[in-house]
Structures are given as structure tokens and as C-alpha cells.
């Protein structure tokens, strides 16, 4: 684990810098800390910061950049002739990378010596067999260009790693020297350290932006790649979803409409369950329940929100589905063929959303000023008249916001639909039929063994993009409504 050691070395340099700077400034002040601008530890921290932070930043940057540079360098080594007709440069590069990993494994397990693994004289057959012995996943027979490229790949990576270590340690030492030399009683060490800490805080806060950026970029690039292979108009307006399984033979129909329909249908069923129950529960808890009942019922309901969705998924698949089949299936009303259906997933998702709707609505109902209720009671209104005609209309925008947030949850929910809704994409009105959703298909397209460069896998990114845009729109709109609502009563 050389990386780990490098990290430790940098930390050790930083620790040394801390001690040196601290003792230097103390001796300069004649051991009288009152002569110092800052506490001695700040001089030490300044030196430690200056040695560790730039070095670690360099380390991270190097680690991110090296694969690209190496990939490009190696990729240009592979002659066009070595790329088969039905393959691509990216696929060959993947092969190269696997071979390089295999060589590492073979060396580690003693099947090859390091010198032999590097030498140009390495025989193809020997290489292949020793790689297979070491358990590496390679094609049956290595080819000359691939092996050569793999050796070059390993060589460049080794050189890169060596130079990286050198560069990082030098930077750490320069930083340490700088920090130690700065340590003099007049130096404003505390202010410098605090500026550094502040920069770290800002960096931490910026991770939220980076995450969003990461999401958007990974969706956008892959979606563009997908639309290069598959026409966008057919994706958005296609009425059929029928990916071919192998990813090679046969054309796939990748229309999103059946998936969107399934998503919305299930979400609507879920909201039909969650909104009335959640809303009435919130009304009861905030307006009627005695403190005792509230203290028991509210946390119990919220337990439903803390249960992982995989549990709900299993509940849908194994409890609710069979139960519904018994009632609506062939033995009962005859509407239902199998346990997985829109109804199953919708019902269970509704249960999951009850506490979500109720706790949001509870907050919102509580935000309606008591004066409003008093005014109504003072006129002789009953409690239910007050709730229905004064409190709820006043809380309406907030409640709409809460429902929209719940809808966005329902649309983005994955495990319940993967297990409870079925796998068949269809445009149907029968809620007892199996349908599938955007999220379920993202899972199935990306967990299969389809090649990542095929439209069948890339479509998942386009689906993810659609999902992201829809839920983001709903969230922004809902948060806007709720914020407006809160401002009204502040």
C-alpha cells in the first residue's frame, strides 16, 4: 500500500514541521509566550498546514490526472490494425487494463517474476497461461499489441507513481520549510491558520455543489452518448419498451412512455393511499389528540418512515402481493394474474409515504396561528368547522407543497417497484396488472451483464436524467411553495 505510506510520510513531515516551528518561535521569544502574537500552537499549526495541505492536494490531483495521461499514451501505441472490426479502441483499452491487472496478480502470486513481466521477451503463451493461473479475467489468448500495451501501461504507471511520491514529498518539505521560517514572534500565525481553516470549511461546503455537478455531468455525458446511438425522438415518444437482452443481436425498442406511465400510475395509487391517511392523521394529531396520545402515536407512525425501502419491497413482494391475489386473483374476483402489480407497489409505497405526508402536514398545520383558530371558536364554530373552513384553507399551499414532495419521493422510489411492481413495461389502465417504472429499469439495465457502451446500458442514464429533471422540478416547485407559505406567517 505505497499510497498509504506516502500519506503517512506527508503527515509525519507535517508533524515535524509543527514541532520545529513551535520550538523555534518559543526560543526566539526567549521562552516568554507573552512576546508572541499568537499562541505557540498556532505557529506549529501554520507550518503543519503549509506542508500537508498543498502536498495532499497535489497527491489527489495526480491520482486523478495520471489515469488519463497514461491511458492516452498507451492508447496511441495501439495500432489501428490491432482493433478488430466489431470492437472499438475503448474495448481494447479495457482489455489492456485487465491484462495489466492480470500481470500484477501473476507477479503477486509468484507465477511471473517482476523482471519477466516487464521484459519484451515475455512469451504470449506463457503470459496467457500464467495470467489464467493467477485467476485474472482475460480472453483465451492474448495478442501481441495488447500485451505490449499492457506492459507499457504498467511501466508508465510505475514511473508515474514514483514521480508522484517524489513530487509530493518535495512539496511537503518546501511547505514545511516555509512554515518554519515564518515562525517569528511578530508573525500573525493565528490569523493565517484561521484563514486556512476557513478555506477548508468553504471547501467542505462546496462538496454539495460538486455532487450536483457530478450528477449532472455523469448524466449529461452518458445521455448524449446514448442519443448518438439511439434517436432521441424514439426515446421520448416511443410507445414500446423492449430492450434486446444480449446487447448485440436484434434492435431494441427503448421508448420511455410506458415506463413513465407505470411510474405515474404507481405514484398516483401511492398518493391516493398516503394523502388522505397522512393528512387526517396529521389533523388528528395536531388538533384533537391529547398530549399523551400524540406522544405515543406520532413516533410510532414515524417508525414507518425509518424503515428501509428494501423492507417495504419485500413486504410488497411476499405479503401484500399474495394477499391481493387472494382477493382479486383468479380465485377471488379474477382481476389479477400475479402478485406483482401497480396496486401492490402503489399500496405499499403509500404506506411508506404516510408518515412523510403526516409529519410535513403536521408542521404546516401547526404553523397556522392560534389566533386564527380562536377567531373561529369565538364565533361559535365547532372544531371540525374551524379545521375545514379556516385551518385547512390557510394551510393549503403548504399542504400542496408537502404532497408534491411526497410525489417526488414516490417517483424516485426504487426498491418497492423493483420487487413489487413487476418487470413488464406496458401501457394499461388496469391497476392489477404488472407494470414497471423508470427507476426499476435503471436498475435492470445497469445490473445486467450488458456492455456499458451499448445503448441498452446507456439508456439507463437517459432514464436517470429524466428522473432527475422531474424530481428536481417537483422539489424546487414544492420548496418554493412551502417557503412562500412559511413567510406568510412569520
Amino acid at each position: 500500500m505505497p499510497l498509504f505510506w506516502l500519506f503517512l510520510i506527508v503527515l509525519a513531515i507535517a508533524a515535524g514541521a509543527y514541532l520545529l516551528a513551535r520550538s523555534r518561535v518559543l526560543s526566539m521569544a526567549g521562552d516568554d509566550r507573552r512576546a508572541l502574537h499568537s499562541l505557540p500552537s498556532y505557529y506549529g499549526s501554520n507550518a503543519a498546514m503549509k506542508s500537508a495541505v498543498p502536498a495532499l492536494l497535489l497527491l489527489v490531483a495526480w491520482l486523478l490526472a495520471q489515469p488519463f495521461i497514461v491511458d492516452n499514451a498507451v492508447s496511441s501505441l495501439i495500432p489501428d490494425a490491432a482493433i478488430a472490426d466489431n470492437s472499438s479502441r475503448a474495448l481494447v483499452m479495457a482489455e489492456v487494463r485487465r491484462t495489466a491487472d492480470g500481470l500484477d496478480m501473476a507477479v503477486a502470486s509468484g507465477g511471473l517474476t517482476e523482471a519477466l513481466a516487464r521484459s519484451e521477451g515475455l512469451d504470449l503463451d506463457v503470459a496467457t497461461s500464467s495470467l489464467q493461473e493467477a485467476g485474472a479475467i482475460v480472453t483465451s489468448q492474448l495478442t501481441e499489441p495488447v500485451l505490449a500495451a499492457a506492459q507499457q501501461f504498467r511501466a508508465l504507471n510505475t514511473i508515474g507513481a514514483r514521480w508522484m511520491s517524489v513530487a509530493v514529498i518535495i512539496v511537503a518539505l518546501i511547505g514545511a520549510t516555509w512554515g518554519i521560517r515564518e515562525a517569528s514572534p511578530a508573525f500573525r500565525a493565528r490569523n493565517t491558520v484561521e484563514r486556512g481553516v476557513r478555506a477548508l470549511l468553504i471547501a467542505a461546503a462546496s462538496i454539495a455543489i460538486l455532487t450536483t455537478l457530478g450528477i449532472v455531468l455523469s448524466l449529461v455525458f452518458n445521455t448524449i452518448e446514448f442519443f448518438r446511438l439511439y434517436p432521441a425522438s424514439e426515446f421520448f415518444f416511443g410507445l414500446s419498451w423492449a430492450p434486446s437482452f444480449s446487447g448485440r443481436g436484434g434492435a431494441s425498442d427503448l421508448g420511455i412512455l410506458p415506463l413513465l406511465w407505470g411510474t405515474f400510475y404507481i405514484s398516483i395509487v401511492a398518493l391516493l393511499v398516503a394523502v388522505p391517511v397522512g393528512l387526517f392523521a396529521a389533523i388528528y394529531l395536531s388538533e384533537y389528540a391529547s398530549p399523551k396520545v400524540r406522544a405515543i402515536a406520532k413516533p410510532l407512525l414515524e417508525v414507518l418512515a425509518g424503515i428501509p425501502t428494501i423492507v417495504y419491497g419485500l413486504f410488497a413482494l411476499l405479503t401484500v402481493g399474495p394477499l391481493l391475489v387472494r382477493v382479486f386473483g383468479d380465485d377471488g374476483l379474477g382481476w389479477m394474474q400475479a402478485g406483482t402489480a401497480v396496486m401492490t407497489a402503489g399500496l405499499v409505497m403509500g404506506i411508506m409515504l404516510i408518515p412523510f405526508v403526516s409529519s410535513l402536514s403536521d408542521d404546516i398545520i401547526n404553523a397556522v396561528p392560534q389566533a386564527m383558530r380562536d377567531g373561529s371558536y369565538g364565533l361559535g364554530a365547532t372544531q371540525s368547522e374551524t379545521i375545514r373552513q379556516v385551518v385547512l384553507p390557510a394551510a393549503l399551499p403548504g399542504i400542496v407543497g408537502a404532497i408534491l414532495l411526497a410525489a417526488s419521493r414516490a417517483i424516485g422510489e426504487t426498491m418497492i417497484v423493483v420487487l413489487g411492481a413487476g418487470a413488464a413495461a406496458r401501457l394499461s389502465l388496469n391497476p392489477f396488472e404488472a407494470m414497471t417504472t423508470v427507476t426499476a429499469k435503471i436498475v435492470s439495465q445497469l445490473t445486467g451483464d450488458a456492455d456499458f457502451a451499448s445503448p441498452e446500458a446507456l439508456v439507463a442514464f437517459a432514464l436517470g436524467m429524466t428522473l432527475f429533471v422531474i424530481t428536481l422540478g417537483l422539489n424546487i416547485f414544492a420548496l418554493y411553495i412551502v417557503r412562500k407559505y412559511r413567510e406568510q406567517y412569520e
Partner: protein, 265 residues
């Protein structure tokens, strides 16, 4: 008002409308009102004054059982309106509150139109047979609330868009719309500027023609200006209750005198 023969009502202006005997109020363990007995007269403005926390608002809220909405509050003793005990088990507070209207400290119009604000009470109590009658009730209430001229052109505008003084008069009109017999006002001017206060005070004086008005106020000047009778509360006790002129010129109790002259409060 309807059940009493109207002739006697006109004749005896100082009918006792509300009779309270030995009222005790507890908030959990806190004894907030102690042994209060008072007779409030019809067609009169009665002012409750006293330092903050003396129990005057609490007592006011007993008169239409608004305290029922607070879980920890218990009321003992007897309060009779027109000879009927309002804490009797058979009394529905909903009916009681239609008879004893209330106006609150801060104007609290509903987030609805001006029209719907006024029509709310008549609607829930089923006072109008049709739309025309409801219109009539609304207009009458707004006129009594002395705000008709200001809002007649924008009855569908939201009530929350009015100025503070207008909002409070709207709330008074809203309370009047259910044809109450008693109007309780809990510091109705405390959130208003002087001009709006003057308007509301003028309105209170007019309302005296038809209702028994009970007003809680922080301002002694206001009590002196608007009321005929004044009750002085101190630490949960009713210290003194008499004609307003007597309380302000010649109080019997030394505590009342201290309060009037500004030594306690």
C-alpha cells in the same frame, strides 16, 4: 334577547346580563382566578382593568368558555347568562359562543375575502335562508362595524389586505354578524395606532346600544373613555367593581388607588 319580553328590556337598562359567583380558575396548579363574583349589566360597557397577569383576560375567556380549548385549564364556580349556568353539562359551547361573541387582542381576519369573513359565522350557524339574506346580514354587520363605507366596493378582496384598524373593525363586524347578545373584547386596541384606536372606541360606544360589552384593557384612559362600569383585578382577585366614574375618582380600596395613580402596575 329574543326570549326576554322586549318591553321590560327597554325599560330596565341595567338588567343583569351575566352573573358570576365564586369563580375559580386553575391553569394546572396555578390558581389564576380566585373567588371572583361580578354582575355585568346589559347595554353597558364594562371594563376590566388591572396589571398584566392579574387574570382579567382569563376571566373574560371564561365568559364564553374559550378556556375550554386549553387542556390544562379548569373552571369552578358559577357563571350565569340570563339566569342559565353556562358551565352546565347540557350547554354546548358552540351555541354559547354564538350568543357571546369575542374580539381578540390582535386582529385575526381569516385568510378569506372580506365577505366570507363576515359570512362565516352566519353560515355555520345557518342564519340565512338564501344568498340575498346573507348579503343583507353581511351588509348590516359591516355597517355596525363602522367599516361598510370603506370596504363596500371590495368585498371580495382578502380580509388580510386591510390596515390594522380596518382589520379590527372587520373582526368586530364578524363577531356582530352572528347576532350575539354579549360582546367580549380582549384588549381590542392594543395592536392599533391612536387614530384606529379612536375609531374602534367610537364603535364600542355605539355597540352599547344593542349589546352588553365587556372590554379588557391595559389603558386606564381607555377604560375611563369607553366604559360605564369598571372592575379592577389584582393577582387573581376582583378588588373593586363599581361605576367607572367612582373607580377613577374615589376608589374604595387602596390597591385600586395605587393602580389608578400609577404606583402599581
Amino acid at each position: 334577547m329574543y326570549d326576554a319580553p322586549s318591553t321590560t328590556k327597554e325599560a330596565v337598562v341595567t338588567d343583569v346580563k351575566i352573573q358570576a359567583n365564586d369563580v375559580q380558575v386553575y391553569y394546572a396548579d396555578n390558581h389564576a382566578i380566585k373567588d371572583v363574583s361580578v354582575a355585568i349589566q346589559d347595554k353597558t360597557v364594562t371594563a376590566f382593568i388591572g396589571p398584566s397577569g392579574c387574570g382579567k383576560s382569563t376571566f373574560l375567556r371564561c365568559l364564553n368558555r374559550m378556556n375550554d380549548t386549553i387542556d390544562i385549564c379548569r373552571v369552578h364556580g358559577k357563571i350565569e347568562i340570563d339566569g342559565e349556568d353556562i358551565y352546565d353539562k347540557r350547554v354546548d359551547p358552540v351555541q354559547l359562543r354564538a350568543k357571546v361573541g369575542m374580539v381578540f387582542q390582535k386582529p385575526n381576519p381569516f385568510p378569506k375575502s372580506i365577505y366570507d369573513n363576515i359570512a362565516y359565522g352566519p353560515r355555520i350557524h345557518g342564519m340565512a335562508r338564501n344568498k340575498a339574506e346573507l348579503d343583507e346580514i353581511v351588509e348590516r354587520a359591516l355597517r355596525r362595524g363602522a367599516i361598510w363605507d370603506e370596504v363596500k366596493d371590495r368585498l371580495n378582496a382578502p380580509g388580510t389586505g386591510l390596515s390594522g384598524g380596518q382589520q379590527q373593525r372587520l373582526c368586530i363586524a364578524r363577531a356582530v354578524a352572528t347576532e350575539p347578545e354579549v360582546l367580549l373584547m380582549d384588549e381590542p386596541c392594543s395592536a392599533l395606532d391612536p387614530i384606529a384606536t379612536a375609531q374602534v372606541e367610537e364603535l364600542i360606544d355605539e355597540l352599547r346600544q344593542n349589546y352588553a360589552v365587556v372590554i379588557v384593557t391595559h389603558s386606564m384612559q381607555q377604560a375611563a373613555r369607553v366604559s360605564q362600569r369598571t372592575a379592577f383585578f389584582h393577582l387573581g382577585h376582583l378588588v373593586e367593581y363599581d361605576d367607572t366614574s367612582k373607580i377613577f375618582t374615589n376608589p374604595e380600596d387602596s390597591r385600586t388607588e395605587s393602580y389608578i395613580t400609577g404606583r402599581i402596575g
